[in-house]
């Protein structure tokens, strides 16, 4: 048996933990730069605030109902996410918990006797709420895909299910599948949902009646076959190890205000390179290819391109590296190539790819570097200082000191759990 534990409106719940005045009120959280709505509480959904819409469109509704609005506070969410996962690891054993995303994880319940499935699911729900203040929903079923189906129904019918739904018999599974549309099945994208509807496959139940060959031929090969197996109650995606190494590392941000000068863009790009290189070193990798792109602000708003087309370039280094300083220089070169005087830019980003393990970098005969070790040590030292002192206290000069292009965060809540100066006040 597999359980999935999924936090209810996770970002909104985090904002609420220290604010009892919001416990039954509508809350929304905005994306970086306060551009879009990325999380809504049930109360906000009920008054009709849409998902992923631009903030300005929902603003009249938000003001009319006095919806509490927050800029995204990733320091808080990251810490609360760790607390939720750690609570589950304590409760269920580290080896049985697979963190799937910031707000959901799979639990291997194979060692739990079947009479205790319901009880254990309730215990997870109650313990996570008690320890962390975050409410979760739990779906329990024979496979991951079915547990997702259960979880979704638990969330949709909170009053009846009390956020826990157990599918432990063929009849219960069948009923749940009938109540689930194909587009709501984990792994079925919009394109496939459309295709399935053409075959008159409307619910997850309809889909589960197809045989495996049909799945392989019509739903993208082996992936489709696995999906069908899972729907039929046979596990086919084993508990995966936690995400190991990323193949591509990207850092992109909108600018707080549109930017016209090359200096600001270079500072931003150098800062993103610094962040990406830091991530690269944390997973003990090195990268060979550096890509940089910028997105100009279009004067005539073209609805076909929500973000406008991006302009980019890339460089392949002779040797894979994890050193920030070795990446900043080529990245600056790319900015020089792609920047056009007179245009206004609203976004930039960097991407590191061709990633290899840091300790097995293929040597290049003509570039033997024994300085490399020293520099790598310097980077480790810099990373340690930055992690312990916070706020990128050590920076490369290329990333600038004024940072006029930094993101806007107009509704930022305190970082209650990670900053000594921002802890919650009580009376």
């Amino acid at each position: 048996m597999i359980a999935i534990v999924d936090c209810n409106s996770f970002y909104c719940s985090c904002e609420r933990v220290f604010k009892p005045s919001l416990w039954n009120k509508p809350v929304v959280v905005l994306s970086n730069n306060d551009g879009c709505i990325i999380a809504r509480s049930d109360e906000a959904k009920a008054i009709g605030v849409g998902m992923s819409g631009p903030y300005f469109k929902a603003k009249p509704l938000i003001e009319q109902y006095g919806v509490a609005t927050f800029s995204s506070n990733y320091n808080l969410y990251g810490d609360m996410s760790w607390r939720v996962m750690e609570t589950l690891r304590e409760l269920m054993g580290k080896e049985n918990v697979e963190v799937y995303s910031v707000d959901e994880c799979f639990i291997n319940m194979d060692k739990v006797p079947k009479e205790q499935w319901q009880e254990m699911a309730e215990k997870m729900r109650d313990t996570v709420e008690m320890w962390t203040g975050i409410k979760v929903s739990v779906g329990v079923a024979p496979t991951k895909v079915l547990s997702k189906v259960a979880n979704r129904l638990a969330k949709k019918n909170k009053l009846a299910t009390k956020c826990v739904l157990l599918l432990n018999s063929p009849r219960k599974i069948e009923q749940a599948l009938q109540k689930t549309l194909v587009e709501d099945v984990w792994g079925v994208g919009g394109k496939y949902a459309e295709k399935l509807r053409r075959y008159n496959i409307l619910t997850a139940f309809d889909l589960s009646k197809r045989d495996l060959n049909w799945g392989r031929n019509n739903l993208g090969g082996v992936v489709g076959e696995r999906l069908l197996r899972e729907l039929k109650g046979e596990q086919s995606r084993i508990m995966e190890n936690p995400l190991i190494d990323k193949k591509v590392i990207a850092t992109t941000r909108m600018f707080g205000n549109p930017v016209k000068d090359i200096k600001s863009i270079k500072e931003a790009v150098a800062t993103y390179i610094t962040r990406a290189a830091e991530k690269l070193r944390r997973q003990h990798s090195a990268a060979k290819t550096i890509s940089v792109f910028v997105v100009p602000k279009e004067d005539n708003f073209n609805p076909r391109f929500r973000h406008g087309p991006s302009i980019g370039g890339y460089t392949t280094l002779p040797l894979a590296t994890s050193l920030t300083n070795e990446m900043i220089k080529p990245a600056m070169g790319i900015v020089d190539q792609i920047f056009e005087q007179g245009r206004t830019y609203k976004k930039a980003g960097v991407m590191l790819s061709s990633i290899v393990p840091d300790n097995s970098i293929q040597g290049n005969l003509f570039e033997v570097g024994n300085k490399k070790n020293e520099q790598r040590l310097l980077m480790s030292m810099m990373d340690n200082i930055n992690f312990s002192m916070r706020d990128d206290i050590l920076k490369f000069a290329a990333s600038g000191t004024t940072r006029n292009w930094k993101m806007q965060k107009n509704f930022h809540s305190p970082r209650y759990t990670t900053r000594w100066g921002e802890i919650c006040k009580v009376n």
């Binding site: 009892p20 005045s21 750690e86 008690m130 962390t132 203040g133 706020d391 100066g421 009376n427």
Partner: protein
């Protein structure tokens, strides 16, 4: 992102133990080196459930909690009579003694100027966590040291 926020006290490795690194004779004490005292280890029983708060009023002075003190709060402990707890009462978070006498519940300040908050049917009340420890800084230099640093958000 996950886990990086904490350097949990339980994930202590032998490399964290100080050695003299003497260049002459190996320091005699190196064989006896052990982990130094770590307040996190002593004062935090359950890390994922532990939060810090700052006392903002004089409601609990007679219990030894003064304005500006830092409270360590553990959500995994159950509120029971005579414990000092953080509770949400009608939209506010307060620190009080939790009192229970048969069917009667109330929150009591440790300062005569404050009245009891009786938890009736219509009071919106929820326990938030149990206060396990008070940090009261007395040395001005330490106060300045632990004051919030200016931070670039």
């Amino acid at each position: 992102m996950y886990g990086s926020t904490y350097n949990g006290t339980k994930s202590f490795s032998q490399n964290d133990i100080q050695t003299a690194n003497a260049t002459g004779f190996g320091a005699a004490t190196d064989d006896y080196s052990e982990r130094g005292i770590d307040l996190n280890e002593q004062l935090i029983m359950n890390k994922p459930a532990t939060f810090f708060f700052k006392m903002n009023s004089d409601a609990m002075t007679e219990a030894g909690i003064f304005p500006g003190d830092v409270l360590i709060v553990d959500r995994s402990l159950k509120a029971s009579s005579d414990k000092i707890i953080v509770a949400a009462v009608n939209d506010d978070l307060v620190v009080r003694y939790f009192k229970q006498n048969q069917q009667l519940f109330w929150l009591e300040a440790a300062n005569k100027r404050y009245g009891n908050m009786v938890l009736e049917e219509f009071t919106v009340y929820r326990p938030w966590g149990v206060v396990t420890c008070v940090i009261h800084i007395i040395e001005p230099a330490l106060k300045a040291f632990s004051a919030p640093k200016k931070s670039g958000k």
